[in-house]
């Protein structure tokens, strides 16, 4: 596996101009950039001219990761040339949330062959119901094929997210990359680091990923109380208080749900994943050290079945963490670097949702507020 990485900013331009050569002709290029930059198609066309033979795959973000730097309003570009691994791309558009599950199934079926080892997906972050999309994939793919990826972001604006799939970036899309062959070793790990606090509350009214009432009181009102004057900043400031969700009958530690949008008219809040009625939720708060420890531990998880330092790591971390950690955000990326070592190329973005199993043996799920890492190594 050969990798070329570069970044672009308005003030500096490209740090090193991306360039395909006779001994470096990548099949896959990851492009992570802000919505504004991706909307400018000139950038896409330029990149296409640098790597005319590659799948150009990427999305809009709430922050781009390039090595251990986290930037806003930049392009993080990572071109990968696999030596023994084959890849295939599948794209689908989703017109409304209800389509998320069948689209997930359809994409998985397009990619599924005997030698499929891993699927990496990037999805629209606002229109798609991530929980249902992941269910569509999980139910179609065999157990040994793991799905990882994330939902695209739009800073803290929650207005427009874009997906790039070998074509000009567009909304409402999902792209999935299938990786084939026995020489690719994939590691993955996902951890949060948020602490639940306050009373446990019962979900008394909800529909899919739309939450109306907790303990028979307006959930939106509760958030406004806790946010105080920061309530004006909803939905972004809602990320400061994600929800720890435990479904009825579940015995595990539960998953974290983060807010995507609010609707004053119906007094509802839309979350990045389902909030089933009768489940128990608890507000969560950030603890800087534990967030950073969470990222580090996620990196450790990717190493569970791999002995060597990986060649490529895609870090997908939640926008909520960035809003909390602010100037310290790079500490979590540096934590990952410390674990994976200096030889690993780090790329990734801040997202509206992360897709991965919690642990190597668990079911794939949509997460929020986590650092989710997928590592690739070719032997």
């Amino acid at each position: 596996m050969k990798i070329q990485q570069s970044y672009w900013t308005q003030s500096e331009g490209w740090d090193t101009t991306p360039n395909a050569t006779s001994d470096f002709n990548p099949q896959l290029v990851f492009i992570f950039a802000s919505t504004a930059i991706l909307s400018n198609h000139q950038h896409f066309e330029k990149i296409q001219s640098y790597y005319p033979d590659a799948y150009l795959v990427g999305c809009s973000t709430a922050g781009e990761i390039c090595d251990t730097r986290v930037r806003d309003e930049s392009i993080s570009l990572t071109a990968v040339s696999f030596e023994k691994t084959k890849i295939k791309q599948a794209v689908h558009r989703v017109q409304n949330k209800a389509d998320s599950y069948p689209v997930g199934k359809a994409l998985a079926q397009q990619l599924l062959t005997d030698d499929l080892v891993h699927v990496f997906i990037l999805s629209d972050g606002l229109t798609v119901n991530g929980t249902e999309l992941v269910r569509g994939f999980s139910e179609t793919l065999p157990d040994h094929v793991v799905v990882t990826g994330g939902l695209s972001g739009d800073g803290d604006r929650f207005q427009q997210t874009l997906i790039c799939a070998n074509d000009k970036p567009s909304e409402d899309s999902i792209v999935a990359i299938g990786f084939y062959g026995q020489h690719l070793k994939v590691g993955f790990g996902s951890l949060g680091g948020w602490d639940p606090f306050g009373p446990q509350r019962k979900v008394t009214k909800s529909s899919g990923n739309i939450l109306y009432e907790l303990d028979n009181h307006s959930a939106l009102e509760l958030y406004k109380q806790y946010l105080g004057k920061h309530a004006e900043g909803l939905p972004a400031t809602g990320l400061l208080f994600p929800l720890a969700l435990r479904t009825p009958n579940s015995t595990d530690q539960g998953i974290v749900r983060t807010i995507l949008s609010i609707d004053e008219k119906s007094q509802s809040m839309t979350f990045a994943g389902d909030i089933p009625e009768n489940s128990t939720v608890q507000l969560m708060k950030a603890n800087f050290d534990r967030l950073i420890d969470g990222a580090t531990d996620a990196a450790h998880l990717t190493q569970v079945n791999l002995n060597t330092s990986p060649q490529l790591a895609i870090l997908i971390s939640c926008v909520g963490r960035k809003l909390v950690l602010k100037q310290r955000i790079e500490e979590e990326v540096e934590g990952v670097r410390d674990v994976l070592g200096d030889n690993t190329i780090l790329t990734g973005f801040y997202s509206y949702g992360e897709i991965s199993p919690h642990t190597p043996t668990a079911r794939c799920e949509l997460h929020n507020q986590t650092m989710t890492i997928t590592t690739f190594t070719e032997d």
Binding site: G198, P199, Q225, H230, L240, K285, K326, Q327, E330
Partner: protein
């Protein structure tokens, strides 16, 4: 040095030599301070809200707990009442079984009395006839004796007659037959009376009827029935006054008298006296039955007319006697009261109207 400050110095000062970066550095530091304030305020605000919420939860839980405890207390009380009720029912059951047995014995006694009545009748009638016949035979024998003195018999016949006379001891025979007849008539009269009293007492074969009755005869026949219970240790003193006939169901009043006599007899531990006093008082008749027994404690006194209340061991008293008595006297539009002093004795005072109100004689 704080990790963030280190990072800020590295980014804005060490990695850059541009002078304008000092401003950026200061801005970053200031922003970090501001953010820290915002974060701390938010945490404090959250803490306050959370504390309020948890207090409310706590209060709700406490109220819930209190309500539950109250429900539990009520349930426990109900349970205890039910336990008591079950115990009472068990007692009542055994007492009813006992009462049933007593009723059967009463019916049996009435039946036996009825069966004995006929033979006693003809024995009585025969003895009366026999008495007349024997008297006539004695007249005949006397006549024979007179004739014997006037007619000179030959010595053979005279000897034979004297031998028989000596053998049967005619003098004694005549005297003793007279006594035997008198005793037998007396005995049979007593048997007749007992049978009649049993029948009167039980009235098992009679339809309840209101009649003008002689209470003294009712008391006497009841004393007769209870004689076995009383005769060895109780002296009966009758202070009968001049009372008119009383409109009543006498068999029921007899039951009341019997209950009082039997209770009095039980209260008299060694030897004692039952005094029966009767008198007329305006339109009523007053009967007082007092004993020289052990008396009744004050607390018990209030309850003696309660159904199933008894101080006797299970099987010996039904606990129904005095409550039934109370019912009977009430149905007669009379009153029954008790006066008692521990160690001195008990007095029952029964007051009965001589005439029952016209429309109130049903439902006995």
């Amino acid at each position: 040095m704080h990790r963030l400050l280190k990072r800020q110095i590295k980014r804005y000062i060490e990695d850059n030599t541009d002078a304008s970066n000092l401003n950026d550095f200061l801005n970053a530091v200031s922003e970090a301070y501001d953010q820290s304030d915002i974060d701390r305020n938010m945490i404090e605000h959250s803490l306050e809200l959370m504390s309020d919420e948890l207090n409310k939860h706590n209060n709700n839980l406490q109220e819930e707990l209190k309500a539950r405890q109250e429900v539990e207390y009520t349930l426990r009380q109900e349970q205890e009442e039910q336990k008591k009720l079950i115990l009472k029912l068990e007692e009542a059951h055994s007492q009813l079984a006992q009462a049933d047995k007593l009723a059967s014995i009463g019916q049996l006694a009435a039946g036996v009395a009825h069966e004995i009545n006929n033979p006693i009748g003809f024995i009585n009638s025969n003895i009366s006839s026999l008495k007349i016949y024997i008297s006539q035979l004695f007249d005949l024998i006397n006549t024979y004796s007179e004739i014997e003195e006037q007619v000179k018999l030959n010595s053979v016949l005279s000897d034979k007659l004297n031998t028989v006379k000596q053998k049967v001891d005619l003098e004694f025979l005549i005297g003793d037959i007279h006594d035997l007849m008198t005793e037998s008539i007396d005995g049979i009269t007593r048997v007749k009376q007992i049978v009649q009293d049993l029948k009167d007492f039980s009235h098992a074969d009679q339809i309840i009827t209101w009649q003008m009755s002689d209470l003294h005869s009712g008391i006497d026949s009841t004393l007769n029935v209870a004689n076995n219970e009383l005769k060895y240790h109780v002296e009966i003193i009758k202070n009968y006054g001049d009372i008119p006939l009383v409109e009543c169901v006498l068999s029921q009043l007899n039951q009341v008298f019997l209950n009082i006599f039997v209770n009095a007899s039980h209260a008299i531990q060694d030897k004692g006296v039952i005094t029966i006093t009767t008198r007329q008082q305006n339109e009523t008749v007053v009967l007082e039955i007092s004993d020289t027994g052990i008396g009744i404690p004050e607390a018990t006194c209030k309850r003696i007319f309660d159904p199933f209340f008894t101080t006797k061991p299970i099987g010996q008293g039904t606990g129904l006697g005095l409550s039934l008595s109370f019912g009977i006297i009430t149905n007669h539009h009379g009153t029954i009261e008790v006066e008692s002093k521990e160690g001195e004795g008990t007095k029952f005072i029964i007051t009965l109207p001589i005439q029952q109100p016209e429309d109130a004689k049903a439902n006995i």
